[in-house]
Amino acid sequence: MTFRVVHYINQFFAGIGGEEKAGEVLPELRQGVVGPGAALAAELKGQAEVVGTIICGDGYFAEHMEEATAKILELLNSCKPDILIAGPAFNAGRYGTACGAVCDAAAKQLGIPTVTGMYKENPGVDMYRKNTFIVSTADNARGIKEAVPTMAKLALKLLKKETVGLGPEEGYLERGVRRNYFLEETGAQRAAAMLAKKLRGEPFVTEYPMPVFDRVEPNPAVKDLKNATIALVTSGGICPKGNPDHIEASSATKYGEYDISTFAALSEADSETAHGGYDPTYANKEPNRVLPVDVLRDMEKEGVFKKLYDKYYTTVGNGTPVANAKRFGAEIGQKLKKDGVSAVILTST
């Protein structure tokens, strides 16, 4: 029996069009292979068949994630697939995110294995690496020759329920997911051997690496404060009253960007905190206790520095996954840098 494969691709790889079509192409199912599916089918070497291809525009997916996912799952389910293969998306951010999201949903709701492919810096990697196998690809479509055979090989392994090895051997980006396996020696024998190596100063491999923290070099100080633009960022969850963007009280998946250009200070009437990690009474009563707009506005008027940046950025630091926090920081940093901000005050609770 051959396994049934469904392939997910975007409007560009389906030959419908580029960016101009990204928002228009709704999820659709075509029988058999489309575009890069031909190369994939060849690599599956008759052991699995690409029975259908689902196509969706990246822009449409990004803007209608819930509806698009539901529709794609429905189309997928109608094919009775044994596996979903998505992409590869290379370094295309929205395409990568869509591939990851579709794989995640297929695994969770249909219980099938999934494989996709992305460049290691694609934002989809950090968001979905735990939920699917992401084969490491080049940053552009020229890498398809290397990507497709690796994806096909991994897919066949998953279909045959063979043991999947480590990321570097199999070509996928480490998922950060723990899996059990049996070794030749008992844990005690391994510990005794590891101690001998550690004492001799020989290299040894821990079986569980502790979470690591990386560091960034400090940037140079602000030389000319009088001409500086200062921006405010907070992980204390301050947001406009009513939390218009629904920033989550914990495990935040988004951050907010709000205009304060006309504010002399924040107040109980216009702001509140979305943060669920502390008692919100004090921040709701006087939001400047978390985001000191009042004082900074005064100092701007006094000419201590030139300008308080027109917007502030906010999220909730409570239980927010490291990958999300990293992405928020990177995006906020880029925007501030582009707008000529000189330095940032970040407040946390």
Binding site: S250, S251, G277, Y278, D279, G319
Partner: protein, 136 residues
Amino acid sequence: MAERPEVFTNNAYLARRVAGECRFVEGSAFDVLVALRDRIHSGARLLTHPLCGNLRPYQQPFRSALLAPPSEGEPLSVCPSSLALVEEALAVYRSCQGRWALPGKIPAAVEEDYACVDAALMQDSLERHGLWRGAC
């Protein structure tokens, strides 16, 4: 003599055995941890570990802990190790959110066993502070 420690619990079985006042939290074990965290934010220190025994959050519906209140007249300072412990405990609970055993949602006989074990693990610590009233 240090000030009387504060007992936080959602376990009525334990609360009945505590001599004197008890901060009873209506709700889940997670809610107890949130109450502990807020109290730590206002300067209290943990005296007992915020995770219980060997039971996972999705098994044990009850959670109890002892806190030392902030010293009167001292400037407010948050105990970083207490905060780290309670945050780690919250993370353990969040990692299995949706599976928590909740008071009133498991068979009564089993719930009583859980209540008893939670109390038994606290008994020694309560006795040391003269807060254990004993069986009732």
